[in-house]
């Protein structure tokens, strides 16, 4: 009787352990966190702070800007590819958030989507407020822009776009408030 019980336990535990391992593996493989890091890795950002003024950019701030600007573009790319506003939360606010929401809503209506691939950003701080509450940056961005109408690709081009960016510090990160493309700086 005891032996039978033992055999049952062992034979019952094995499939459970196996199932747990499979589920864990699936969760890890398909988790949004991993996806975020994977997408993040595709966004290259270089930051130049030597022309910042009137306030100098502190080392920690520099790191924060690099991290949060990369996160912002990763979020934007996800939002405009999947046509959902959820990835935008926390990375954008103000006017930038407004037009991104409009873009997602407009894309949902028209059935279009955009992909920003192989992103590379050369960021330069051109203004950092005396009290550190706002920063203006110039971004020379290069990426492969793909536009799809449903599943049909209608545009695929490697582009260089210049952006004027305003970022402000939030509770625990810098957020993009303005992201405006310009023909030249």
């Amino acid at each position: 009787m005891i032996g039978t019980t033992t055999i049952r336990t062992v034979s019952g535990e094995f499939p459970i352990r196996f199932a747990v391992a499979v589920i864990t593996l699936c969760v890890l493989l398909f988790s949004p966190v991993l996806k975020l890091h994977a997408a993040d890795a595709g966004v290259q950002v270089q930051l130049d702070v030597k022309n910042a003024g009137p306030r100098a950019v502190e080392t920690l701030t520099e790191r924060g800007i690099l991290r949060d600007y990369r996160f912002a573009w990763t979020s934007m790319a996800q939002a405009l590819e999947s046509n959902t506003v959820d990835p935008l939360a926390g990375a954008f606010s103000g006017e930038a958030m407004q037009w991104l929401r409009q873009t997602v809503a407009s894309q949902q209506k028209s059935g279009l989507s955009r992909r920003y691939l192989d992103q590379s950003h050369r960021l330069e701080v051109v203004f950092y407020a005396p009290e550190g509450d706002v920063m203006e940056l110039h971004d020379t961005a290069e990426y492969q822009l793909q536009i799809r109408d449903g599943d049909t690709p209608i545009h695929d081009e490697h582009v260089t776009v210049r952006y004027v960016v305003l970022m402000t510090p939030g509770a625990d990160r810098w957020v993009v408030r303005q992201l405006q493309a310009v023909p030249q700086f």
Partner: protein
């Protein structure tokens, strides 16, 4: 080779009959302004699909090649880069920029909200002009900054925006009270207020007298060096040193004066300080 060329010609001819091989060409606006209608001229014949992809817009519509495509003001509200795509069999694209229109708002950040008087580089402000659609106006504009207190102009300067931003930094005024800080651009005025408070106390002096319970010490009315009354609540520290040792009492300023009752019997030396400012020292004899 000739068979291949013949095959291609036949295919193209066949497609042109069904209207999908029509050569489409179009011209985007050379310059467009946010919130203003515009148009795209097309050439060719037959039907096509027009796409407008830009900040805040993703539009798809059927068009007739050879006719103008109207771009509504609503579609061009956001400054930035736009992509016009015309598909008719194949797709062609052209990009164009929409620039901000004239300034309609002035975002003005001023620091700090409370500042001691007569402090160098203590007040700073940053102004960004935006158009009515909240696009940053990058064309250079002159912004006037003015600081006034009690109706008197303390400081003013005109600063030209660079990359869409203008800023200033200056000293605070000499007297306590509200400081009006205004940024103006044409008819636009954005006011902010900074409360100027007295600086550190100046000529901190105390008097003391024996009472049945000990020594009552009090300051003279406390002012800063410009004569402004130091605000109530500011802490003044009295230090008593006697035969039995040393003790301190912290007292807040009330109605311009700080008072403390020090329970000590023997001869005592009492000094006073507030922040980094030291006052006079008094000696009070023993209880008779």
């Amino acid at each position: 080779m000739s068979r291949l060329l013949r095959f291609c010609a036949v295919i193209c001819l066949a497609r042109s009959f069904v209207g999908v091989c029509a050569a489409q060409d179009f011209h985007v606006p050379d310059s467009a302004v946010a919130g203003a209608e515009s148009s795209i001229s097309t050439t060719g014949s037959g039907k096509g699909i027009f796409y407008l992809v830009g900040p805040g817009v993703s539009r798809k519509s059927d068009i007739v090649l050879g006719e103008e495509v109207q771009l509504a003001a609503q579609d061009l509200r956001n400054a930035g880069d736009y992509l016009a795509i015309v598909c008719s069999g194949t797709c062609r694209s052209e990009s164009f920029f929409v620039s901000a229109s004239k300034p309609a708002n002035l975002t003005f950040l001023v620091h700090p909200s409370r500042v001691p008087v007569a402090l160098g580089d203590a007040v700073s402000g940053v102004a960004f002009p935006f158009d009515r659609y909240h696009n940053l106006v990058l064309a250079a504009e002159n912004i006037n900054f003015q600081l006034t207190a009690k109706g008197t102009s303390l400081w003013s300067r005109s600063v030209r925006t660079q990359n869409g931003v203008a800023w200033f930094r200056t000293a605070s005024g000499k007297s306590a009270g509200p400081l009006q800080v205004v940024a103006s651009l044409g008819d636009l005025n954005t006011p902010r207020a900074v409360q100027q408070v007295a600086s550190d106390p100046c000529n901190l002096r105390i008097t003391g007298q024996r009472t049945p319970k000990g020594i009552l010490v009090q300051t003279e009315p406390i002012h800063d060096c410009a004569g402004n009354v130091v605000p109530d609540g500011t802490i003044v520290t009295f230090t008593a040193t006697g035969a039995v040792g040393m003790g301190t009492v912290d007292a807040p300023i009330k109605q311009g004066v700080a008072r403390a009752q020090i329970e000590v019997l023997g001869p005592t030396t009492i000094s006073v300080a507030s922040g980094v400012v030291m006052g006079n020292e008094i000696r009070v004899g023993a209880q008779p």
